[in-house]
Symmetry: C2
Subunit: 198 residues, 2 copies
């Protein structure tokens, strides 16, 4: 019984994500987002409240989508668990290297810029990292059950290590390390994971 919105909220969030992602929070202007989405500022503020709230929505969204994507990549039966892990690690290296704009990951970028001063961002990042760790742990446990990884180290520890390597690959990528080196890191990381005693 009132005028309906003409824009798709999700589409606006996606566009805003692009802007925040390339420019960072502080360097992105609301006018940019308004122009990029075609919305007037009245609509933008009416729908999302303000810059900070909009970023929170975008960040939340992004974290969720990253966790979802990894979840899909790592989900499956025990027999293929190691193949999935390996594919995932190489995929992160390749994706980081392919990111020629050096935008890195919005999760890392947003956390780096705002976690210190914005509790909501810090908490969301923490939750996302925890979720990623849990996904890796499940997959590594499956590898151990299937005999692809030695069972003498707790899967949680190995998952934390792999997660650190993955985040490290992204950080190095942003610093300009070559694709070859990144792929090497992925390969070496997989190679040093303990083998079953058999």
């Amino acid at each position: 019984m009132a005028r309906p919105r003409k824009f798709d909220e999700q589409r606006v969030l996606d566009t805003a994500r692009e802007r925040f992602w390339s420019g960072g929070y502080a360097a992105t202007r609301m006018d940019d987002i308004a122009e990029a989405t075609g919305l007037g500022k009245g609509s933008l503020y009416g729908a999302f409240g303000g810059k900070r709230e909009l970023f929170h929505r975008v960040f939340d969204d992004y974290c969720g989508s990253v966790v979802d994507a990894v979840s899909r990549q790592l989900d499956g039966n025990d027999a293929d668990a190691y193949a999935r892990l390996s594919a995932h690690v190489y995929a992160v290296a390749a994706a980081t290297a392919a990111d020629t704009d050096r935008r890195g990951c919005l999760l890392a970028k947003g956390a780096a810029e705002l976690a210190e001063h914005d509790e909501a961002v810090a908490e969301r990042a923490r939750a996302a990292i925890e979720a990623l760790q849990a996904l890796l742990e499940d997959d590594i446990a499956a590898c151990q059950r299937h005999g692809d990884i030695g069972a003498d180290v707790e899967p949680g520890r190995l998952a934390a290590l792999v997660l650190a390597v993955l985040r490290g690959i992204e950080a190095l990528g942003k610093a300009g390390v070559s694709e070859e080196t990144l792929t090497d890191i992925a390969r070496t990381a997989l190679a040093v994971l303990p083998r079953p005693a058999d």
Copy 2:
């Protein structure tokens, strides 16, 4: 034959570093820096040129000091090379955990915020990472000579892996991962390095 400066340039750089470090580049105001250092804006601009140039000076300085510090930590004879490596890895984990403000490393933070749009920052970060990698490689090679690490993997690859883990620890620390987990990652990383076949 002219009035000498009343301030110490290095001290100003240190203060500016603090500001950029906690706030990031965009969120730090020149007025803040002026107030924090006690300088007037005239002096600030006269001595450093502008915000961008000042940040470049600070960033350059910081990268140099990080490389220097690691260099000192890893320098020594072959017999103690593994002990130094181990101490260094634990030290990074402890330092990251102790950084309760979650400022992380200015190298990572600056690179995350500016590398994409500022070639000078990107290049400086790349050079610093390369230097760190070289330092680790030297130490790992020493470990291999002394028989503390297996010689079947090239030291350069192991160094790249260790570097990724170290940067990953910092990234995870910023995301709020606990000290215990960070220390665990350090321990696990050291544990999975190949042992000599003996």
